[in-house]
Amino acid sequence: MTVREERAAEAPQGWRAWLTAEAPQSRLQARSVQAYLAWCDFAANPLAMAGLVIIAALVFASAFAPWIASHDPLAQDLAARLTPPGEAGYLLGSDELGRDIYSRIIHGASVTLFIVALVAVTAPVIGLLVGTAAGYLGGWVDVVLMRITDIFLAFPRLVLALAFVAALGAGIGNAILAITLTAWPPYARIARAETLTLRNSDFIAAVQMQGAGPMRIIIGHIWPLCMSSIIVRVTLDMAGVILTAAGLGFLGLGAQPPLPEWGAMISAGRKFILDQWWVATMPGLAIFIVSLGFNLLGDGLRDVLDPRRQAR
């Protein structure tokens, strides 16, 4: 629908002109222009920006926890146990050992971020490797890899994680490892489905006709196109990851007390849920807000990263 390309009265100047160039002069500029335009699309979506702000706040809180927190998250004061929010200097109240809930949540941010980051880096990569290899190579490779995936999927996630933790020993690190080992199969399925639709496309045929081998095609041509749906799925899955970590913590197999992990805090507050509601509610709210942040971010990313957005 190229009709009248009305030039803006003021052509952009300086770095903006460089970032919006129709005809980039170098590889770097071409990538920058794409990134900038994607960012513009993303920034135009207020909900996605809200998600980004929440995640940024999480990162900020975990980086500067000692300065933001009002108390030592581990310091107990049995005289001030179960203080309601807003009283005696406890912004969000105190728990059954008189520890400041606000400070524990702030310090817990880094635990949450640690879990999220590690799972987000490892599980999708395993899934991507398995899924694209199965989808592209097909044949017996596909059969073997997908049956292994099915076996992992057939176990209830928490039970499988439990088995791993039981074998490896309790602790936050092993909990993350267990979550990763149970989280990759869905990514493998997504990556395989995407690969199957891409495998027969003409641009893959064209690169085959240049003599490229399977490894090169999978990594250089298929991965970039699977990435967007994987990234979106990862952000949407993060809420579940946080909850699984909390569940493991609750069973005594994840974060060990007194580490201020949000899930463990909720399970500790369970006993007081009727009379001292804040003990379980405050960390619950933190999980809710961060999960919401990841979901909003995921939705925004889906809109921006979807290659069909740019079709025709």
Binding site: A23, R27, A30, S201, D202, F203, M209, Q210, P307
Partner: protein
């Protein structure tokens, strides 16, 4: 076989079948054709006639074929080596689907050069962009920033990167507007003269094939119905009634 007379492409008794058991379908049935060096050979037919399947079997994009395929006098197997791809390249039908959506023109064009260890990558890319009429301003664009005709020019440029002798053209203009089609067909003619290329063109559009090709094979339901020259086609000297029907349907009010 003496080398100078070796045809660019020789296909004998080519049969391609898809599926297994009861659902097995023969897409190409005992097709033979000979494309001489430097000529343009057309393969016409309607959808499902197997014309594109023949092309893909020659290109090595389909594994399950039987018969004999020889390119430049050398019989080829199911797996093709890199030397084969320096002989023969392909241009695909849909310019929207044949370029990687996340790769710049530069990446698309440099990939074959890097794979085959060519030198002077920069100079070659600029030269080929010039040849297909795009110029250096297009080098770092993404496919979605290009029109259909420009994309097809990039696809042609990519096919030329390895300096092949033979180009397989799979409906190279059917997705394009008439005026853009004329530009692309002219470009293909120019490139053929400049690099003395051999073309094997698949199309459903008889006027396009008559314009481009010297000799034409008409396919129907996986078989070659007849072969005739472009001149015979223009004069409607077809032996088979099916070819006559095709020709009659292709003649519009303006012809």
């Amino acid at each position: 076989m003496p080398m100078p007379e070796a045809p660019a492409i020789l296909v004998q008794g080519l049969t391609v079948a898809f599926g297994r058991g009861a659902g097995r379908m023969t897409a190409v049935d005992d097709v033979s054709l000979t494309v001489r060096v430097g000529e343009s050979y057309g393969l016409v037919g309607e959808s499902g006639s197997g014309k594109s399947t023949v092309l893909r079997a020659i290109a090595g994009l389909i594994a399950g074929w039987n018969g004999r395929i020889a390119v430049a006098g050398e019989a080829v197997g199911k797996r093709r080596d890199r030397a084969f791809f320096r002989q023969l390249q392909m241009v695909f039908q849909d310019p929207y689907g044949s370029l990687h959506p996340r790769h710049t023109v530069d990446r698309t064009l440099s990939e074959p050069l890097l794979l085959h260890g060519f030198d002077r990558v920069e100079a070659r890319i600029e030269a080929v962009l010039e040849q297909v009429g795009l110029g250096p301003a297009f080098r770092f664009r993404f496919p979605h920033q290009l029109s259909g005709g420009q994309r097809q020019r990039v696809a042609i440029a990519r096919a030329l990167m390895l300096e092949p002798r033979i180009l397989l053209l799979d409906e190279p203009t059917s997705a394009l507007d008439v005026s853009v089609q004329a530009e692309i067909l002219n470009l293909l003619s120019d490139l053929q003269a400049r690099h003395s290329l051999t073309y094997l063109l698949v199309s459903h559009d008889l006027p396009v094939v008559a314009h481009m090709c010297d000799e034409v094979a008409v396919m129907r339901r996986g078989r070659v119905v007849e072969t005739l020259t472009a001149g015979a086609m223009r004069a409607s000297h077809a032996a088979q009634s099916y070819t006559q029907d095709l020709l009659a349907a292709s003649r519009g009010a303006l012809d």
